[in-house]
Symmetry: C2
Subunit: 196 residues, 2 copies
């Protein structure tokens, strides 16, 4: 099952934001919501065999990770606002340090940071997005894939090193630097094509 991990460096972690100003009041949660959309939505269907982890590092209760599991998800709609409501609900729960709490079908919250999330996928095929990498169209990526992306900002040097610690495959999507949600769409479409 392919896994996407997206880091929201400034994204709110206490759930105290309004759904009416997602781009302004959440530390750019809207960017991560679009990644959830790209991960799961097909025309009239949902991808069941994929997972996305949103690693949130903003005020005032960081780190927290929201995990969406396609095999169990319900009540997911493609618009930003309704997915934001699922995230807000997860962030407002009281959770312990070592707990992963199920807050709605297929949605989970924990106090994991990036390093712990990546560690849970040790041994899988990590990807490092780089301009000089192998073109994705010539790669033989499969569902064992773990892709780590920055949301509003690029991964920091420390975060890059956490990825490099998993011996990642260097992959290029093309000449332009793309938003994380667009990267996810391209990865999933290539996995679809590679299965033909």
């Amino acid at each position: 099952m392919p896994v996407f991990v997206v880091v929201g460096h400034r994204v709110n972690t206490d759930g105290l934001f309004t759904l009416n100003d997602l781009a302004g009041s959440t530390g750019r949660l809207d960017i991560l919501l679009r990644c959830v959309n790209s991960t799961f939505f097909l025309s009239n269907d949902i991808r069941r065999d994929v997972e996305i982890h949103l690693v949130l590092l903003g005020e005032s209760d960081a780190p927290k990770t929201i995990r969406f599991d396609g095999s169990k998800i319900k009540y997911l709609n493609p618009d930003e606002r309704s997915t934001a409501a699922l995230v807000k609900n997860a962030l407002m729960q009281t959770i312990g340090d070592d707990e992963e709490m199920n807050t709605s079908p297929g949605v989970y919250v924990s106090r994991r940071g990036l390093k712990e999330v990546l560690e849970s996928f040790r041994g899988r095929k990590f990807v490092h997005l780089m301009e000089t990498g192998t073109s994705i169209q010539n790669s033989d990526i499969d569902d064992d894939l773990v892709v780590v992306l920055g949301g509003q900002y690029d991964l920091t040097e420390d975060e890059e090193n956490m990825v490099k610690d998993h011996d990642p495959l260097p992959i290029s999507l093309g000449p332009n630097k793309l938003h994380a949600n667009h990267c996810i769409t391209i990865f999933l479409n290539q996995l679809d094509i590679n299965k033909l």
Copy 2:
């Protein structure tokens, strides 16, 4: 310059909707807003050499077409709500039958329907998305491209025939049927790659 045309069969045309319920109160304008995002946004940049036409056919003043021109656009943000405000503002203007009114930098509204929009691109290289088409990765599509997509619903038979009247190239993106915004991302990335 590549052109995307997306048909919103039920999307509101009088601008009398709330920005707080884009998925519920607009006839699924949210789907078309995500197409605008896919069309223009690069990481930290905007694609200037691309255009998208949203052909709106819902209540109560149809048809109307909102055109976004990347070469002139300003005040475009990647979240759904802020783009919805640009569309709402355009729809609320009083426009004549043969007029195209500029309602904010790079945003235009007219009373054109699908047939007139497509006619304005007569002679360009139209695409017809079909499962049995040539794989996009083996195609030699270039910036002369005109892609016509359905939003919430597939194109009707009449609309398909309007596209076929432009001698379109049959293209397949992969085995899954994708949302229009995801199709746009894949087309633009392929154009980027074909320029390498």
